[in-house]
Symmetry: C2
């Protein structure tokens, strides 16, 4: 049942469900806030690419747009609120099959009168500018008088920061409400228009353009009100007309597109734990609605379009954790995400130059302009009054190689020579030039000094293994795609020859960086038990954490994940054990990656446990886990864990490889996987692997280590269950 | 009983009581919002003089500062809200004797557990920067666990407009929370500091600096939490220390100051209608808390510090309706209000010059800078998309003469020659120069063309009688106070000689302006019944209203009020009748003035009825009458109606005159009245007038038309009740 279900109304969980029940379409996202007001409830509507830098701030923020979701319902003189009276038969769910958010309740007011109230909402998957809502009220205790007030509410802010100046409020033809706004600093123009299906009295005051509808309803008759809204911005390339359609008509069109999505991009998992399928559907639904479909000026922020965490900025999360879902389902979207990076090559080169490097140093946090969005200083420590410099913007450079890695993954999956010619080769070149200039001659070799790797609890270290290997790969691939560039050739070859790549020591341990293995170890059990809370920072200063063997997330293990064939299995196993003990997993990017590497190593139960824990980052019981929005990268990682972990897909070799190893709880997995223009249907049972495609052309691939040929169907039966490589 | 009482909790009335129950001290005002959140509830804290012009706006706005009033209380896991569970024994009142806002309730949560919750709040009348709050919780159904979250919330906006950038959030000594902000355009620095009496966990996020206190409470034990807050700004001339005192200590000091206020500035009215005394106390309380006491850079806005109506701008309301209360109770404050105008003489002269006039043309709406704050255009008509020019800023010039009138009233009441020498004479001179340049030679005389008088439903008229007479008085008094200025003398005399002053026609009617008497009359009963709603503008366009005999408020009648001895009683009576029929009283400035003139004319019942209706402007049953704040001028006018109406005081002659004529419902009135340095205690019964003062010096005055001499006490007994002049 592809539904996100809220079993009961609880004030404490308002914003968690608000994030989970976001409706959207990649162009915009609308948080699943309830129609009426509650204390602390955060409403949000965001359009990809619409950022603004508030006065006094150094960073752009994803703009929270004027709200259209709110309805003030008054029944027989009493304001409807689930905090008042009694609620009978509460039902609220987001049907991911259709993208529709539904709430049905029977409300009894303080006088004992009962009413059935149904609320519906969706964002069109076809007409990206459109949001539709419908309210149905049926009085159950005799006739009733209803008043509904709704409209466009530009009192909405980003937690008190107002990003929009109001340009005009208009009503056309006594029915269409139109608000026009402009972002104060970035000067983007926003239009929010809305039309309500019943006649009402219009008012415009205090940044609100509202209509108030009043109606008497006979007992047991249903009063229905539809509200169709349209959002457009100065980023739109084509002008949009206000739709002339009913809620049902818009929904029918949108549903078709959703059905198509699930048919091809959905993953079926038959598990003894129903939750696994649900978590996967949840991840796919949100990956789909967070990602822009047709505008390479926009990428995906760390919270998608579900909330304001990280101000909607774009991180390496996108290329490494989110892009793959699209690469193997709808590669043109993956291409678009890379075109975003290409678009901002200029700004990246500017950042490199400013820091004394060549090539392209991509900003740690990116928004619309492509400039570095990370503030130079973190928020003042409220106790000491001091500010820390934000280390990641200064030193977390692996992002550059992550982008290059993504370019190569894209090329390997699609064979898109045109893209490489237009963008890819140059991206690889400029990122490689950065690494070449970034390296320092020391100890008779090239070293990369003073970085932060994926593990942000370890700063200012030299020769972070992940970074060095990724840099090496970056330059190596740049070399392959820029053979004509002779000057570059020699520089690149020298870099590849001389770059220090840490290897396993006599104990078989690969150092995470130059000093990690020498640091002290402490018992992390209590922090691992409270992963995600960053509790370690309450007991130790940042400095102390840096000096101990404490990982926020997979670092070396990230490398094992990205380069599955690079390291010998025993090495992987040994280092996985060693480093996992020292990993708190406070980063939401960590557990699913560990699940993949554990599974490849044969630690199947541990892998499944990590997978289940990763699924609980946004779906667990912690009421405030997702107040700032969902963890977009962790949702991508859930999909990665299934496809690259349990389904055992490996794209790093010459040929596509697959070696499934399902958790004991799973009896079936099915998904489509696009590879070199072909769509392969993958069906996995504990002892059977079936691959099929619609074309008869021959595709060579490796299944459980053996070359196989797939024309239209290929079925492999396994005798033994234990098939770890 | 000097209490503003809210009998029961009703969502609909939230903001009305929020305005009514404002606590303040003239430096700051804090709306009487409830501690917990409710839909549509408007919180507000304003400091006099702190304005900011938002991006895209042409006008400064009184800034809504970071909130300190909110407390999120959770009892045994359930968020406290009066919308939930049951409320027993609801009690909420503002004790005007002490300035303390109190709420006491017994709340039963959804599980049936009961708790006594008491909330207290006041703004210190002694330490103007300080606000204090106290929360008491007593579990009645067994022990309980309480969580209270409170702090400094800069998510607060002016209805979605954010005026403040956050500069820093700090905690000192693990107890003092300090937020520093800066207004974005006007660059005023604001500090809000707060300390809570219980240890808690501090967080700073999303413009909120909060502490969360958790505690177990034994059954029937009272848990008390005090929150002391301090507000200071870059306007303060002396730095302020955070107070080291308890709620009780701060309150004891503040109470003393309130007791002193009521003893001297309060008016006692013994009436068969208790409401009359209450309305008067309400008026005096709010006049006191809306008015700055020691900063002539600040004046009083049209809503005081109770709300955001008119963006906190200063109108003629201040000089004509609000200043008198202070002039005759604490004249140094009246002087300060005039010094505000003197301070901005330069800007007024700038506006005059810009419009082709000499002298000083004071801005129709004034804020901190003294520049014209009225937008050039009103809000776009949402249906037509067209914008009207705001006529008042262009043409409502009587304000200039109103200021001059107030200067003369101040001088007459105090004999303050120093003030006249420092400021007053120059104010009179420059305002007079304006009128001299404003007049046009036409029809063989000087006319003042194209103005708006006090009646704003009549625009673009010539020779508004009120304006012409006031201008004449302005120039006449300027002449008296600038005898050395020869050049001015001749100009002024010519003006006085030639200015057209409309007089009664053959029917005994004085025209309101050149065309009023020729306009058509329509029956206004339905609009008069709905006074204050501006319903006329729903049925007629502005243009149409201009062309009909429709008054928004007293215009000519204003003149009768300000110059009681100027017109013959029969003339006053005739014109009062004529114009009152044509007055809708949509302006809150109107009814109390009519009460005064009706009473002087002998229409005692009509006078009392108008008085009672004036008292209902903010205190009536209409739930949204005062959402934007209280009507400051109408509160001043309530006091004027008692003192200048029913108590029959007249300051316009050579000597102070008094001729009381109480409503039948009143058996006693008592108040202090300062005149020429003396404080006169006035006590009025239907047949007795007693005046007393502490000094033995002789004060000559006129009582019921006869000269009398007051040394320390003077008692006049009246034989007849009918003593109208």
């Amino acid at each position: 049942m592809r539904k996100i279900i809220e079993k009961e109304f609880a004030l404490n969980y308002l914003n968690k469900y608000g994030s989970q029940m976001t409706v959207g379409n990649g162009y915009l996202g609308v948080r699943g806030a309830l129609e009426e007001e509650y204390p602390e409830q955060v409403r949000g509507m965001y359009v990809a690419g619409i950022y603004n830098r508030p006065s006094g701030s150094v960073s752009s923020e994803l703009v929270n747009l004027p709200d259209v979701t709110r309805f003030q319902v008054t029944l027989d003189g009493e304001v409807f609120s689930m905090q008042a009276g009694k609620v009978h038969g509460y039902e609220r769910f987001l049907d991911m099959n259709t993208g529709e958010l539904v709430r049905k309740i029977i409300w009894e007011n303080s006088a004992g009168d009962k009413y059935q109230l149904n609320f519906y909402r969706f964002a069109s998957k076809v007409v990206k500018h459109v949001i539709a809502a419908r309210v149905e009220i049926t009085p159950l205790s005799g006739c009733a008088k209803v008043k509904i007030k709704t409209g466009i509410d530009a009192q909405q802010t980003n937690f008190g920061t107002q990003q929009l100046a109001e340009s005009s409020l208009r009503i056309f033809d006594e029915e269409l409400m139109v608000g026009e706004y402009e972002t104060i600093e970035s000067k983007q123009r926003i239009t929010v228009a809305t039309k309500v299906s019943q006649k009402g009295v219009f008012t415009a005051k205090n940044r609100q353009l509202m209509t108030e509808v009043e109606q008497g309803i006979a007992a047991n008759q249903t009063f229905a009100l539809e509200k169709i809204s349209l959002v457009k911005t100065s980023l739109d390339e084509v002008d949009v007309e206000f739709p002339n359609a009913t809620y049902a008509e818009l929904k029918a069109n949108s549903e078709k597109a959703w059905a198509d999505f699930w048919e091809h991009a959905g993953v079926r998992v038959e598990s003894t734990n129903d939750f696994d399928q649900f978590a996967l559907d949840f991840a796919c639904y949100h990956l789909e609605i967070m990602t822009p479909k047709d505008d390479f000026r926009c990428s995906v922020g760390a919270k998608g379009l579900t909330g304001e965490g990280y101000k909607g900025h774009v991180f390496w999360d996108t290329e490494i954790f989110i892009m793959p879902f699209f690469l193997y389902n709808k590669p043109e979207i993956a291409k678009q995400l890379l075109e975003y990076r290409y678009l901002h090559l200029k700004e990246a080169k500017g950042k490199a130059l400013k820091n004394g490097y060549n090539g392209a140093l991509y900003p740690w946090e990116s928004a619309f302009s492509g400039e570095e969005e990370t503030p130079e200083f973190a928020a003042i420590n409220i106790r000491t009054g001091t500010r820390q410099k934000v280390a990641s913007a200064i030193s977390e450079h692996h992002l550059v190689a992550d982008i290059a890695y993504a370019v190569c993954e894209y090329e390997a999956a699609t064979g898109d020579a045109q893209f490489m010619s237009d963008c890819g080769a140059e991206l690889l070149l400029e990122t490689a030039e950065f690494w070449i200039s970034r390296a320092t001659n020391r100890n008779g070799r090239l070293e990369i000094l003073d970085v932060i790797g994926p593990d942000e609890y370890t700063e200012h270290i030299d020769n972070n293994t992940y970074t060095n290997y990724m840099a090496h790969y970056n330059v190596k691939m740049a070399l392959e795609w820029n053979r004509d560039n002779e000057a570059f050739q020699s520089r690149a070859k020298a870099f590849l020859k001389n770059l220090y790549l840490p290897v396993a020591n006599e104990k078989g341990l690969i150092p995470q960086d130059d000093t990690f293995l020498q640091k002290d170890w402490i018992n992390l059990d209590k922090y691992k038990a409270a992963q995600g809370t960053q509790g370690i920072l309450l007991d130790y200063s940042r400095q102390e954490v840096n000096e101990l063997q404490i990982l926020k997330q997979a670092d070396l293990v990230m490398l094992f994940y990205l380069f599955p064939q690079r390291f010998a299995p025993e090495t992987v196993k040994k280092n996985l054990d060693y480093y996992e003990k020292r990993t708190i997993h406070d980063s939401s990017l960590s557990k699913a990656i560990h699940a993949i590497v554990e599974n490849r190593t044969g630690n199947r139960e541990q892998a499944y446990q990590f997978f289940q824990e990763a699924c609980l980052i946004d779906l667990g019981d912690e009421p405030h886990s997702s107040d700032d929005g969902l963890h977009a990268a962790s949702l991508g990682a859930i999909w990665l864990a299934v496809v690259f972990g349990f389904a055992g897909i490996d794209t790093s070799g010459e040929l596509l490889e697959i070696a499934p190893d399902l958790p004991d709880a799973w009896r079936f997995v099915k998904f489509e996987f696009m590879w070199k223009g072909e769509t392969i249907l993958v069906e996995i049972a504990p002892n059977t692997l079936q691959l099929s495609k619609n074309t008869k052309s021959m595709l060579e691939l490796v299944i459980y280590g053996e070359k196989q040929q797939l024309t239209d169907t290929l079925t492999i039966k396994m005798e033994q269950k234990d098939v770890s490589l």
